[in-house]
Symmetry: C2
Subunit: 255 residues, 2 copies
DNA sequence: GCAAAAGTGTTAGTCCTACACCCATGG
DNA sequence: CCATGGGTGTAGGACTAACACTTTTGC
């Protein structure tokens, strides 16, 4: 913690960051059959915010986003995609020179937060079970929130979440969304719930299974999922090679 | 022209623009059955560049892009979509403090162009026949180039064009691409050629027509296209209301 | 043994594909 | 009058949507 504060101090004081440019990450995870977003709860105001950061002078946006992802989740190698820039001058208009969520004793460039920012929105897909959620210096808590919870986000952060979800829907056939959001081994009902959640509507259990299997992108494993009541479903894993190839063409069908 | 120089002078000297942030527009037009991009030829070096500009302190990126579009094409109300941010620090690394394409007598902030820029890529769809192509202060010519011509673009501008085309392909079912690229009245073969160009492959004439008509998004008009040899095709126009509604669902099919 | 969840199968209808045929126009 | 491009039609096959039946599991 001390180290982080020191880092922040160094960063802002030496003007390591570019002015005006920030990025925010909508980190999606899937748990309990629900699509969730990793959020920060800010100190003092207790408002919710997306994990984000500023662009350093010598890095690409992708590198900056990976840096943020690593710090909040502990993970490397995360699936990450830029999806939109938010540039309304009014979006940061209400930012005071020294936002409430900054500790008095935290050294920083007084003007930095008062500047106008455009923010580049990224969405990330992670395996919920592998994430070690870690707050940043401005936050007291880092936690998963259901995407339907819209309350108490700062600035336009909930709008960013909604936009990310919409993009996710549109790219469902072209991005390895299932692969990145589910654990290595998963059941067909879990995969289906994921698709249903993203699409926002229910799918026929039997048709879903047949279609997914027709793509030949899954390897069927031995039974499991003993925990649940009722008949235990099979476990599957993605055949990554075939999955990638199929996505390049776009998974066909009417979903 | 004199007026423009004055504007530029005022702008740079008063620091009207945000540092580090630019935007570039891939302006697509369709003519002679070919997909074209509006390009600038820079003074001195005669290199090609995309129309672009810088973000003013009090405007959104959309407003900035519309400003650029208006200046280069004379058109308002252009279909415009942000599609990607280009942020590699090396992309502007080769920019000298005073680029060759700047006239000696053109006043500007000496450091401005030497800064690192991220650029936000927009693509625009315009009716070729309505564009009045106008160069900016750095250019001697503004002209349409075929998208296959890749030679002599500055920085990563041709990469931006390729990425724009790829996005166009992916969004073909969800954006009013036909409506914005074609003149108000057009023939079925023209519409087909547009689709073929964007998709990069040929389509069956008869199946194409049947499918497009099945969407009920076109109004059939009287004959015409007298100029061409052979049988004269019908003219159509878009039924904008139905088109918009259909796009929200996404035009179905396997294209 | 019963309710609920999961595996497997069937069928009718729709959509796509790949063609064949005729009509209009300009050289 | 014929080559070329444009308008219209049709048959086979693939895919989808909707639904029935059986199997497994925990209470």
């Amino acid at each position: 913690m001390t180290k982080k504060i020191t880092l922040a101090k160094t960063s802002f004081e030496t003007k390591e960051f570019l002015d005006h440019i920030s990025l925010d990450c909508v980190i999606f995870g899937f748990h309990d059959n629900e699509l969730k977003v990793l959020t920060l709860q800010l100190k003092r105001t207790l408002e919710n915010a997306l994990p984000g950061g500023f662009l350093k002078k010598e890095e690409t946006l992708e590198e900056a986003a990976k840096r943020v992802l690593k710090e909040r989740t502990g993970l490397d190698q995360i699936f990450l995609k830029q999806f939109k820039v938010f540039s309304d001058p009014l979006r940061s208009k209400n930012n005071p020179q020294k936002p409430d969520y900054i500790d008095d004793d935290l050294p920083y460039d007084l003007d930095f937060f008062a500047k106008r920012f455009i923010t580049i929105g990224y969405y990330a897909l992670v395996d919920f079970t592998k994430v070690n959620a870690t707050p940043d210096v401005f936050s007291q808590k880092c936690e998963w929130k259901n995407i339907t919870e819209s309350s108490n986000y700062i600035l336009d952060h909930y709008e960013i979440i909604r936009d990310a979800l919409e993009v996710l829907r549109l790219q469902l056939r072209h991005q390895p969304i299932g692969y990145n959001l589910l654990p290595d081994k998963f059941t067909m009902p879990e995969l289906q719930k994921l698709y249903e959640t993203i699409l926002g509507r229910e799918l026929d259990r039997r048709n879903f299974q047949r279609k997914i299997l027709s793509y030949k992108i899954l390897n069927k494993l031995g039974e499991r999922k003993k925990g649940g009541a009722h008949k235990s479903p099979f476990l599957y894993e993605f055949n990554l090679e075939k999955y990638q190839k199929a996505l390049n063409e776009g998974l066909s069908g009417t979903w």
